[in-house]
């Protein structure tokens, strides 16, 4: 079976070559902008910060170190606080890299969840199959990287029970998600197996509404909001690191809370 994570046809490398001058020009502008904003710092520290590329790579390697520290801080048995049903926000807050009117609803009947990677049974899943798994319910705090938060009530199968059911290699490093809105995401296996990591199909007791990820989204009590992909179409278990949508833009990967 062809993995949904690898395109059948790779893009022509000539495209990159054709646009090389343009890319170089963009980089130069970035250098100029970076130099301006770092000018004051250079005077203070006496360090050579004139090359933003080296600064950027230093910051990214510290971010990688922080990912390791966060994995170490993460306690797989520690449960996030839960809250009474009276605190649940209805409807939940919408958040994506586009506005709510740009949401493209997924048709439930035609929807299939594809599986790939280190999974024994890669048969695609339907909504009915997911509903047949033991259901969990949790009322947890959603914490956004921007600083806002709200209490939400999520139901569905735990990702752990799903991974066990399909015979996934639970010693693998990553669980990767693909979505209908082209918002790839990957998480560590320890968090995937946490009891408060759900493949959510319901919010506040009702089937998920379209803007919030119908028919399937991830909901983790132990990670920032942007780590929770909506409209999931495929799950891969792998040892290969793949950055998610925001990680490619510079956000941290682990994003544990």
């Amino acid at each position: 079976m062809i993995s949904p994570f690898r395109p059948a046809r790779l893009p022509d490398s000539a495209i990159l070559q054709d646009h090389e001058p343009l890319i170089a020009d963009l980089r130069r502008r970035g250098v100029l902008r970076g130099t301006l904003s770092l000018g004051a710092l250079t005077m203070l520290t006496g360090c050579d910060l004139s090359s933003p590329k080296s600064v950027q790579s230093a910051l990214l390697s510290i971010s990688g170190f922080n990912d390791a520290v966060q994995a170490w801080l993460f306690d797989p048995t520690k449960l996030a606080p839960t809250y009474p049903a009276s605190m649940v926000l209805k409807p939940p807050k919408f958040n994506a890299y586009y506005d709510i009117d740009k949401v493209k609803p997924v048709e439930g009947a035609a929807w299939r969840l594809e599986l790939a990677g280190l999974i024994a049974n890669k048969q695609p899943w339907t909504q009915a199959m997911l509903d047949a798994l033991p259901q969990q319910d949790m009322i947890i705090r959603h914490v956004c990287v921007e600083g806002w938060d709200y209490i939400g009530q999520w139901s569905g199968a735990t990702l752990r029970s799903f991974l066990e059911h399909v015979g996934a290699d639970l010693r693998a490093k990553y669980v990767v998600f693909k979505t209908a809105d082209d918002y790839p995401s990957s998480i560590d296996m320890a968090t995937a197996l946490h009891p408060q990591t759900l493949l959510a199909t319901k919010y506040a007791g009702e089937t998920l509404a379209d803007p919030f990820g119908f028919p399937l989204r991830l909901r983790m009590a132990t990670k920032l909001g942007y780590k929770n992909p909506k409209w999931i179409t495929a799950i891969e278990v792998t040892n290969t690191y793949t950055p998610g949508f925001w990680e490619k833009a510079g956000f941290g990967w682990f994003a544990g809370i």
Binding site: R33, S37, L41, L44, T45, A58, L59, L60, I62, S63, N66, L73, F74, D75, K78, A80, P81, R141, V143, C144, V145, E146, G147, W148, D149, A221, T222, W246, A249, G250, F251, G252, G256, I257
Partner: protein, 219 residues
Amino acid sequence: MPLAASTPRLRRLHPWPIRIMHWINAAVMLIMITSGWGIYDDDVIIRGLHFSQTFRLGDWAAPSLLWHFAGMWFLAINGAAYLTYGIVTGRLRERLLPIRPRDVLESIKDTLQFRIAHDDLTVYNAVQKILYIVVILAGISQVVTGLAIWKPVQFAGFVALLGGFQSARVIHFIGMAVIVGFLIVHVALSLLVPRTLLAMLTGGPTLAPRHPPTQAAQS
């Protein structure tokens, strides 16, 4: 200085570890404040209060967060080294204590009458002592509340103690405001009395031995 050469262990107002830690802290504080402003702007605490892009470190939230989460290590490690040094050598107690209520009133009166000549750099007045203690506590508070905001689930008990996630954010914001307020006064005064600035670069005047037999003459 011939005198300096003949004295084997000369005590300066600001020994070299203090100077190094001070300037590391100055740079890191500016990084933390300006990158914090970049993070703040995506979800403001005070409606209408934004920080201009000119003063933000990072074009948008992602680079600001990278700076903040890199700077935190330098802030915490340098701060811990400073406190350890200050406690072990007795410097903190020597410089910042005691604070007598009478002295506080006295120095407030002096300040209001613009008598801030600061003739003797080696002795802090009561208001200075309070300001330094407040900013040290604010620095500690920033590290601790920062940890709470970073890991509200792993440190859920502590976050609850602070009054919840949003309260922790507000306390973190207030800590920033206190430090910025201190910074404005601190920098302004050091520019008004440039000898203080010079002392933090070169070490400043020499001090009497730490434990003189009689510690009387302090009036």
